[in-house]
């Protein structure tokens, strides 16, 4: 079910991001427009077993325009990796493509730049996808 090893899956965001969910953990005015601070995509088995925590930070936790990636194994965070690439614009529709095999996940950013993150959990299938922060899932395709 969902993405087995190999296929790429694309996630596209919606531009109607200004409606934040109740559990929105970042302060900001409730009216639109609101500055983008951060968004998160978690992929894995469930909320405690995340093979890719993909966390672009516009301006939060001392990071500006940086992508922080990590994994969570049985609820325990791994070591963070940082990517300086940042092809994201606040308020825009954006698309991220993620493919994976036993060794790595490959993340292709909207400008085509691709980087890898190790598949530390060795998951053979991804069946959980969660978005948090200033990102609303609009479209998902498995190719």
């Amino acid at each position: 079910m969902g993405a087995a090893q190999g296929p790429i899956f694309r996630v596209e965001s919606s531009d109607s991001w200004c409606v934040s969910s109740q559990d929105h953990q970042f302060p900001g005015p409730s009216s639109c427009p609101q500055p983008w601070l951060v968004f998160v995509l978690n992929l894995g088995k469930d909320s405690n077993n995340v093979c890719l925590h993909f966390n672009p930070r516009f301006d939060i936790h001392g990071d500006t325009n940086t992508i922080v990636c990590n994994s969570k194994d049985d609820g325990v965070w791994g070591t963070e990796l940082r990517e300086p690439a940042f092809p994201f614009q606040p308020g825009s529709v954006t698309e991220v493509c993620i493919s994976f095999d036993q060794a790595d996940l490959s993340i292709k950013l909207p400008d085509g730049y691709t980087f890898k993150f190790p598949n530390r959990l060795n998951l053979e299938a991804i069946n959980y996808l969660a978005a948090e922060g200033d990102f609303k899932i609009k479209c998902v395709a498995f190719e």
Binding site: M1, N127, A130, A141
Partner: protein, 131 residues
């Protein structure tokens, strides 16, 4: 096949249509597509059952099932590729089946936003889109 695929923090508002495409497994005896707030709070549980030749719809509120609504219009079969649309309105859900037949299910829980999608059983999702 007994898998589950889940999407959290989706942004489905009133008036939105979800288009969902996928392939029904060759050995499927049924599958379900769930839309709601969380695993224990489902505004629409859409569950085609091949063994019974029926589509069962229901709602789940704090883990308590509501009253089933059955529709004997099963216009697809194991092994086929299918496309559905599900429109979320204030009073009801409108599900358009692959042959164009439409079934409805009341918006019993009265929510105006859906954030959770899950697919269970013999259905391999290939894409979904909110319009």
């Amino acid at each position: 096949m007994s898998g589950i695929f889940e999407i959290m923090n989706m942004n489905m508002k009133l008036g939105t249509t979800l288009k969902i495409k996928g392939k029904i497994a060759d050995d499927a005896d049924g599958f379900s597509i769930n839309l709601g707030q969380a695993t224990d709070k489902l505004d629409l549980h859409f569950n085609p059952r091949f063994g019974e030749s029926t589509i069962v719809c229901n709602s789940l509120d704090d883990n308590k099932w509501g009253q089933e609504k059955r529709e004997d219009h099963l216009c697809f079969s194991p092994g086929s590729e299918v496309k559905f649309t599900m429109t979320f309105e204030k009073d009801e859900f409108k599900v358009k089946l692959p042959d164009g037949h439409q079934l409805t299910f009341p918006n019993r829980l009265g929510h105006n936003h859906l954030s959770y999608l899950s697919v269970q059983g013999g259905f391999n999702i290939s894409s979904f889109k909110l319009d």
